[in-house]
Subunit: 347 residues, 2 copies
């Protein structure tokens, strides 16, 4: 009898971890929230501890050919800190684990850690642990971030209610197009190493791809102005995918208005130069690390005056589903494209 | 001018992380203990939170040819939980991150998670997070473990004082010889796939290598009998290496007596069959995951009656250094051999 072999792609990225962990039961009183949100939540009586972990893998999440190591260190921290902010918590500590091949010199690792340190300074967090081990091939980075929140402020993916307003910070699609530019310049360089890369006119896109900033300013502003988001998630896999997470966890629908999705002029221009639809980049491009959240409609005035935050739609009844209203007035069902993970193994 | 390139091996495993993180300063009041012990310590007012992270890399820490995935899941948890116990804390939660190639099927991952679940049940801990991403090649496992301790019970590497007694749990060198047996059987199999592996007579060694148990029983016994270790570390890289850590962090010397180092009869017999010195296996073989600790000499009677704990030496003045007294009455300076990490990258 042949052994059963189910390809991991059958489950998709999120289905897989659900499938693998569904039989685990909670044993500790202190475990408030386990798998299924941006971070786990642990009860420490006075406040809640929030913990999240994320891996970045060479050849999957970054290409050493165009990723400066210092930026990579900074980005690896930002990605994890973003998950802590997405719980409406304040990051406190991180642990950094690396698996490296001897292709990396001490100087290269110093560059990486210089980026980690710059991020620690920026987010005012402590590096408190980690390990460095070897790999036969490639660089693997894993970071665990620990945050803290008052119990009444922690925000889950599950708190959105019909009638709430859907908001997002910053602009979307830029990081994805930054990656397209870097990939194009890499191809041109491989074709002709004498060609000079044209990167100057794409500052915004490259900045969002190579050195994203987690939106602690949004969290601080909300605390200062008594804004309590009802649900929140960070945009790491594309707006559509994150909206579908909120809909599923909150058991609600969403009406997203295409005309209101914030897209930077540079994103718009570059998308067109690549013969791509800018809204598709915003909906399905990953790595924006902006915050997507919902607020009670009573908070509308507070949100209207909030810097760099955009109202992009409404939370609806779950039976309505997750819908996009296009600029032309048509309605489409939102689908998650996200990123293709689980590539073929190199032979 | 040529760019400077320092090989990572110049620093050794522990020197490297020290070197890379020495310029980081502590920013949070809640950070009690950062890098440099088995786990980081975070102040939560009522108790301390203890956090540790560890990676296991295919081809470096395990060989898929003779490592059952369920055992690997169990071991990955044990290795991390062991670090929490080594702080005299009780493990509470874990986060598991995997980077996998599509060589691994869902069924293979289910096997791995069955091992993680068995460990969660055994250690009474919750799996609260993690991510699963793809790798181009190989399996990378990172686990973060979170524990809790009353402030007065947390035990660092730095608390040993001259006059203390040096103790270790269990027996040493078995996991290393278990690995040698698995490597030998692999070679025999590659030579002739029809050969049947001879594993039955090595139950103890293979159990210690493939499915190590973190010594929560030792921590529970010490709590119950009011034994306060002055310093503690888990034996992951070999007894010598761990003793040198305690000496450095506590600024003390140690006199280790060869005749008192606990070695299982199976370890002794197998070492000799491999033409190895059993004491060398105990001193330099890794992955025992036993607890090495020091206690005040006033606790001598309590330790004498403690199950599966052995008194192996004394803590001395720092000027004495770390010395081994051999069975023959000679004295040798202890040196760390440990494991060779940072291998050549495969071409």
């Amino acid at each position: 009898m042949e052994e059963k072999r189910t390809d991991v792609n059958e489950f998709g990225e999120f289905g897989l971890i659900d499938h693998l962990t569904k039989s685990f039961t909670i044993q500790k009183e202190s475990t408030v929230k386990s798998i299924g949100d941006d971070a786990a939540v642990i009860n420490n009586q006075n406040w809640l501890t929030v913990v999240s972990t994320d891996s970045l893998v060479e050849g999957i999440h970054f290409d050493m050919m165009y990723t400066p190591l210092k930026h990579l260190g900074y980005k690896a921290v930002s990605v994890n800190v973003s998950d802590i902010y997405a719980m409406n918590a304040i990051p406190q500590q991180i642990l950094v684990s690396l698996a490296i091949s001897n292709r990396f010199s001490v100087e290269a690792l110093e560059e990486f850690y210089a980026g980690v340190r710059a991020a620690c300074d920026h987010y005012k967090i402590d590096l408190v642990g980690g390990d460095t081990t070897s790999s036969n091939k490639g660089l693997f980075i894993n970071i665990t971030a620990i945050g803290r929140a008052m119990p009444e402020r922690v925000t889950y993916r599950s708190g959105a209610r019909p009638g709430d307003i859907l908001c997002v910070s910053g602009d979307l699609g830029a990081a994805y197009l930054g990656l397209q530019i870097l990939e194009r310049e890499k191809m041109l360089f491989l074709d002709n190493p004498n060609v000079k890369p044209e990167l100057k006119e794409h500052q915004h896109l490259l900045g969002k791809q190579l050195k994203p900033e987690a939106r602690g300013d949004i969290i601080a502003y909300m605390a200062e102005h008594d804004i309590f988001p009802t649900s929140m998630i960070d945009v790491s896999d594309g707006l559509s995918s994150e909206i579908l997470h909120l809909c599923k966890e909150s058991d609600v629908g969403v009406l997203l208005e295409e005309s209101k999705v914030p897209i930077h002029p540079e994103t718009e221009k570059t998308a067109i130069s690549f013969s791509m639809d800018p809204i598709t980049c915003a909906l399905s491009g990953g790595e924006d690390y902006e915050l997507l959240f919902t607020v009670d409609s009573g908070d509308l005035d507070k949100i209207r005056t909030m810097p760099d935050v955009y109202i992009i739609g409404d939370v609806t009844d779950p039976s309505y589903g997750a819908m996009l209203k296009t600029t032309g007035g048509n309605f489409h069902k939102l689908t998650a494209q996200g990123w293709k993970h689980f590539e073929q193994e190199e032979k």
